[in-house]
C-alpha cells in the first residue's frame, strides 16, 4: 500500500478472503479484538496470536514494506505470549500491558481521525472565494511569513539550485592528453626497427588505455605518411603489420602532432 496515497483508494486488490483494508498491524489487531467481541482489557493473548497469524496468511498481497511491519508485530506478539506463559513474580507487570496500552492509544488515534473525516466531509464542497480586485496593479503573491517553515526553506534552496544547474550546464571538459602522437611515433619506430615486421593491431588491442590505442594508430598512420613504414594486411580483418621501408625517421619531419 502506498502511504502517500491520500485519495482513499483501495490499498490492495482483495484476495478471495474478504478482509477489510488495514492501516497496519495495530489496525488489524484492533479489528481482531472487536470481531471477537473481546474487550481490549482482557485480551486472550494466545487467541489473538493465532488469529493474527491466520489473518497474515490470508493477506498474501502485502507489499514488502508493510509486510515487514506486520512481521515485526508478529514477533512482538510472540514475545508477549511467551512471557505470559512464565509465572509472574511479585510486582511484575502483566506482559500484555504494553499491548493493551498501544491498542488503546491507537483506538484514540482512529477515533480522532474519524472526527477529522467528519469535519472534512461537511466542508468538502466549499471553495475559497477569489474575486478579481479592480486595481490597476496586481498584488504580489507570496507565502504568509508566519507559515513559512523549514520544509519550504529547503524547497526554496532546491529550487534555486535546480534552476542554477539548468542555466549553467556543466562545461564539456576534455582531459589533457596523456599520450602524444610524437612520443608514439618514436616508440613505434624503435619497434619496427627492431622487429622488421611489427603486428600493430595486436599491439593496439592489448593496450589498457583506449586513448593510448588511438594515439598509437595515429602514430602508425604518420609513419606511413612519412614513408618510413609500410602497412600489410594478409587477410581481411586480419593482423596489420608495419614494416620499415628503409627510409630513416627524421625527428624534425614529425611536425607538431
Amino acid at each position: 500500500m502506498d502511504p502517500a496515497d491520500v485519495t482513499g483508494a483501495e490499498p490492495w486488490p482483495r484476495p478471495a478472503v474478504v478482509l477489510p483494508a488495514f492501516e497496519g498491524p495495530l489496525d488489524l489487531l484492533l479489528h481482531l479484538v472487536r470481531s471477537k467481541a473481546m474487550s481490549i482489557w482482557d485480551i486472550s493473548i494466545a487467541d489473538i496470536c493465532e488469529q493474527y497469524h491466520a489473518a497474515l496468511a490470508a493477506m498474501d498481497e502485502l507489499d514488502l514494506e508493510m509486510a515487514g511491519e506486520y512481521l515485526v508485530c508478529a514477533a512482538w506478539l510472540a514475545a508477549i505470549k511467551s512471557r505470559s506463559l512464565l509465572p509472574r513474580q511479585e510486582g511484575e507487570k502483566d506482559p500484555k500491558g504494553e499491548l493493551v496500552e498501544r491498542l488503546l492509544e491507537y483506538q484514540k488515534v482512529k477515533a480522532a481521525a474519524a472526527e477529522l473525516a467528519g469535519l472534512e466531509e461537511v466542508r468538502r464542497g466549499m471553495a475559497a472565494v477569489r474575486v478579481r480586485a479592480a486595481l490597476p496593479s496586481p498584488e504580489e503573491e507570496g507565502v504568509q511569513l508566519e507559515e513559512v517553515d523549514l520544509a519550504q526553506l529547503a524547497a526554496a534552496l532546491v529550487e534555486v539550485m535546480r534552476r542554477f544547474a539548468r542555466d549553467h550546464p556543466p562545461r564539456l571538459d576534455l582531459p589533457p592528453l596523456r599520450f602524444s602522437v610524437r612520443e608514439k611515433i618514436l616508440e613505434l619506430y624503435a619497434l619496427i626497427e627492431r622487429q622488421r615486421s611489427f603486428p600493430l593491431l595486436s599491439h593496439l588491442l592489448t593496450r589498457p588505455d583506449r586513448l593510448e590505442s588511438v594515439t598509437l594508430l595515429v602514430a602508425g598512420l604518420e609513419l606511413v605518411r612519412l614513408q618510413v613504414s609500410r602497412v600489410h594486411q594478409r587477410t581481411p580483418f586480419g593482423e596489420i603489420y608495419l614494416t620499415p621501408t628503409g627510409v630513416p625517421l627524421r625527428p624534425e619531419a614529425i611536425g607538431d602532432v
Partner: protein, 185 residues
Amino acid sequence: MSDGKHLEAVCEAVLAVAGEPVTLEALVAAAGEGATPALVSEALERLAERYRAPGHGLVLERVAGGWRLATRPELEAALRTFAGVRARARLSQAALETLAIIAYRQPVTLPEINFLRGVNSAGVIRTLLERRLVRVAGRKQVVGTPLLYRTTREFLVHFGLDDLSGLPAPSEVGLEDVKEGAVGP
C-alpha cells in the same frame, strides 16, 4: 466615512479578493479612518447574516483566527460542473490518522507517529507537507534530533476550525473501552 454600510462593503470586497481568512485587524486597517474593531465586527456579523438568507451562494465563516468567504457546501455539484473548479480529494485514512496524531500531540516527531500508528508514516508526512496541512517546527532535542511537526493555518481552514481549541476534545472522541475502567488491566 465609516458608516455601517461602508464597512460592510469594505469587508465584502476585501474578503472576496483575499481567498483566505483575513484577520479583524487587517479588515480594520483596510477600512481606514474611523473604523474600530467593534464597528468592523458588527459589520461582519451583519454581512454573515445577509449571506444566510436564501438566494446566496456564499457563506462568511470564522476560521483559522480570521474571517473567510467561501462557497456554500451544498453547491458542490454546481461548482464541479463548472470547469476549473475541481473537487478536493478526500484525505486517506492514513493521512487522517497521521494528521490526528499531529493535531492532538503537536509538536510531534516521525518516530512518535510511527510508534502510535504501528506503521512508517514518512510518505504520508511528505504528502501532508506538500498539501501544507502540516509544517516542520524545529527539532526535538533527543537522540537523532528528529524534526518536529505541527499543523498549519491551512489545516484549520481545511477542517473549519477557528483555532486548535476547536478540535473535538479528546474525551468527546469516542472511547467506549476507556470508560470501563482505569488504565491498566
